[in-house]
Subunit: 337 residues, 2 copies
DNA sequence: GTTAGCACTCACCACGGACGAGTGCTAACA
DNA sequence: TGTTAGCACTCGTCCGTGGTGAGTGCTAAC
C-alpha cells in the first residue's frame, strides 16, 4: 500500500485532466463518477488522501477538493498523457505555414503568432545565437546619389541590411565589382573575423575605407545584437482568457516577465527534443505557476533554435507538445530549404 | 450667460486635467481649491451644471462628481492644452532612436515598441501601402547546391527575400550576371509591372523559367501582402496599468480589437499632421472609450506612413502628441537617409 | 453674481448569516 | 483487508443589510 499502483495512477490522471479542463479543485465524487473505476467516492477519498501524502495532490483548504501539484503534472507528462491530435487539427496547423512568404525574419515572427493562435497560449521563438554565424554573401546596391544599401546574408539565411554613404565616384558597376570581390573574400568567415579584417583594411585608408568600415560595423551589429532581440513573443494576450489571470495584477506581472527577454533565454536553451518544465522547474520564481514547453528546430547548417509555449501549469500538455513538435518540424523544413 | 466664457474654460480645463490624472469623477470642491480661481465650490457647482447642460460634462450618478465628455476632450485638445515637454524627456526620447541598427524592418517594429515605452500606451505603426512600390534592385545570391536567395529591394528601402531552387548549371557568376541584367531591366518598374512582365517571359519557357516565375511570385507576394501585415502593434500590455482595464474582460476586448488589423487601418489613414480622434470620433464602437492620436512620417520618395498611439480617452494628450511629433520626425530622418 | 447651509442621493464597504461542496472518520459489510 | 454508507464538521462563496462619506441641487442671505 502507498505505492503508486495502477488505480492511483488512473485516479491521478483523472484529477489532472479534470483540473486542466475546469481549473477548480476536484472532488472525490466527480472522480468516482468520471474515472470509470466503479468505486465509490469514499474509496476515492482514501486514495486521494494517500496521493496527497505522497505529494501529488494539494488541498487548498479542508473543505475543498484537490489540486494537482507540480509533481503530479510531471508524472502526468512523463507517463500518463495520451497524445492524439485529430488529423484535421494537424492538417490545419500545417496549412498555417504553407503558402506564405518564406522570408526568414517573417517566418519567425509569423511562427510566434501562429503558435500562439494554435495553442491559445503564449508563444516564444528563439533564434540561434548569432556570434558564430558565417557570412555567405554580401552585396552593395546603389539606391541614390552616393548612398548604397549594404546587405549581408548569413549561412542561416538571415538577411540584414543598412544604408551607407559611399564615395560618389562609385557607380553601379563598381559596386557590383566590389560586392563580388568582397563576397569571394569573406564567404564562410565568421562575423567576428569579417569585422576584424575589415577594420584592419579600413585603417590603411584609401577611397573605400568608408565602405569597409560600414560593413565591419554592420557585421558587428549583427553579432552583438542583444539577447533581447533573439526572442520573439507571440499571443501574449491569450493568457487573458484563463481564469488564473482574472486578476489584472497577475496578468501584468506575467507580461512584465515576458518583457525581460534575457531571463527567458534560460528557458529556451536548446534541448534534444520536446521538453517540459513545470512550475518551479522553470527556475523562475515569477513563473512558479506556469509551465514552459519547448522544442528545437534547425536553421541552416546545424544551427539550433527553440520554439516554446508558456502557460499556466494546468495547460493542455498533450496538445501543446504535439503542436510544438509539428510546428518545429515544419519550421525546420522551411528554414533549411 | 451660458456662453463658454473664460472662467468656464478654465474650470473645464481643470476638470479634464484632474480627471486625466486621477480617473475619478471630479467634484466641485477639488476644482475650487485647485483651479486657482478663488471662488467657492458652490460657484463651481453652478458653472459645472451649465457645462453639463452644454454637453461638456457627464455625471455618472447624482452624488458623484463630473466626468469630461468626448466633447470636452475635443475642446481641450483643440484649444486648452499646453504642450511643454521637458528637454530631458525630449532628449531621452531621441536617444532611443540613434545608435541602433538602421534596418528598415527593424526600425518599424522597434519604433512600435519604443513608442509604447515612451508614451506608456499602445503604439501602432503603419507602413505605406505597397502596391505602388517600385523595384530598385534585385539580386540572386547562391546559397547552396542549386538553391539561391532572391532579394528584392524597393524604393522605400524595404528588403524582402526568399529562397528558390535554380537550375544547377547556374553558378555564382551566372547568377551575378542575371541579377545585373534583371536589375537594369526592372529598375523603377512597379511590382505589378514586374510581375506581369516576368510571368510573360517565363511562359516562353527556357532554362530560367523557374527563376523568373520565382521572382514574379515574390513580387506578387510583396504587393499583395495582406493589410494585416502593414500594421505593427507595440506595448499592448501597457493598458493593463490603467484602472479602466482593471476588468480583464475589457482588457481582452481591447486586445481582440487590436488583432483585427484591417479595421485599425481606417484609424491610420495618413493625415497632414498630428491628428486626434476621441471616443466615438474613432468611428469604431469598440473603441468608444479610447482615443487615437496619429502622426505621419515619410519613407523613401514620397511614401507616407502613420504612427499612432491608442489609449483611454483620458489619455495625456499633450505628452502623447509631442512624443508622436518627435518620433515621426526622427523616423522620417532615418528612413529617408 | 457669489456663497454658506442643508437636505438628499447613492456608490462603496464591512459585517454576518445561510448555503453547500467536500472532507475525514467511523462502523458495517463482502 | 478493501470498500462503502453515514455523519459531523469545515470553510469558501453568496447575498442582503446598514453605516459612511463624497458630492450634489436648492434656497436664502450677502
Amino acid at each position: 500500500m502507498m505505492d503508486l499502483n495502477q488505480r492511483k495512477q488512473l485516479i491521478l490522471q483523472a484529477i489532472v485532466e479534470d483540473y486542466i479542463r475546469s481549473n477548480t479543485p476536484v472532488g472525490s465524487r466527480t472522480i468516482s463518477k468520471k474515472s470509470g473505476l466503479g468505486v465509490s467516492s469514499a474509496t476515492i477519498r482514501n486514495e486521494m488522501a494517500d496521493l496527497e501524502e505522497m505529494g501529488y495532490l494539494i488541498q487548498p483548504h479542508v473543505s475543498a477538493g484537490r489540486v494537482p501539484s507540480d509533481r503530479a503534472y510531471r508524472l502526468y507528462v512523463d507517463r500518463l498523457l495520451k497524445k492524439g491530435m485529430r488529423d484535421e487539427e494537424r492538417e490545419s496547423a500545417r496549412s498555417y505555414f504553407t503558402s506564405r512568404v518564406h522570408d526568414m525574419e517573417d517566418v519567425l515572427s509569423l511562427c510566434a503568432q501562429t503558435l500562439g493562435e494554435l495553442t491559445r497560449y503564449t508563444a516564444l521563438v528563439m533564434t540561434p545565437r548569432q556570434s558564430d554565424l558565417k557570412v555567405s554573401a554580401l552585396h552593395l546596391i546603389p539606391i541614390g546619389e552616393a548612398t548604397a544599401m549594404l546587405i549581408i546574408v548569413t549561412d542561416t539565411g538571415m538577411v540584414r541590411e543598412t544604408t551607407l554613404r559611399v564615395s560618389d565616384r562609385l557607380n553601379a558597376d563598381s559596386l557590383f565589382a566590389i560586392s563580388r570581390m568582397l563576397t569571394d573574400k569573406l564567404r564562410d568567415l565568421s562575423l567576428r573575423q569579417v569585422q576584424d579584417m575589415l577594420y584592419g583594411y579600413a585603417a590603411h585608408g584609401g577611397a573605400d575605407a568608408r565602405v569597409l568600415s560600414g560593413i565591419a560595423e554592420l557585421a558587428g551589429q549583427i553579432e552583438s545584437q542583444t539577447d533581447k532581440d533573439r526572442i520573439t513573443v507571440g499571443g501574449a494576450h491569450n493568457i487573458l482568457h484563463y481564469p488564473e489571470y482574472a486578476d489584472v495584477a497577475r496578468a501584468r506581472a506575467f507580461m512584465d516577465t515576458l518583457e525581460r527577454r534575457e531571463s527567458l533565454l534560460n528557458l529556451m536553451r536548446p534541448q534534444e527534443s520536446v521538453a517540459v518544465r513545470i512550475g518551479y522547474e522553470t527556475g523562475m520564481k515569477e513563473l512558479h505557476d506556469c509551465s514552459v514547453v519547448t522544442a528545437p528546430y534547425r536553421m541552416g547548417r546545424g544551427h539550433i533554435g527553440t520554439i516554446g509555449v508558456i502557460g499556466p501549469t494546468r495547460m493542455d500538455y498533450a496538445r501543446v507538445m504535439e503542436t510544438l513538435e509539428l510546428v518545429a518540424r515544419e519550421l525546420s523544413a522551411i528554414l533549411s530549404l
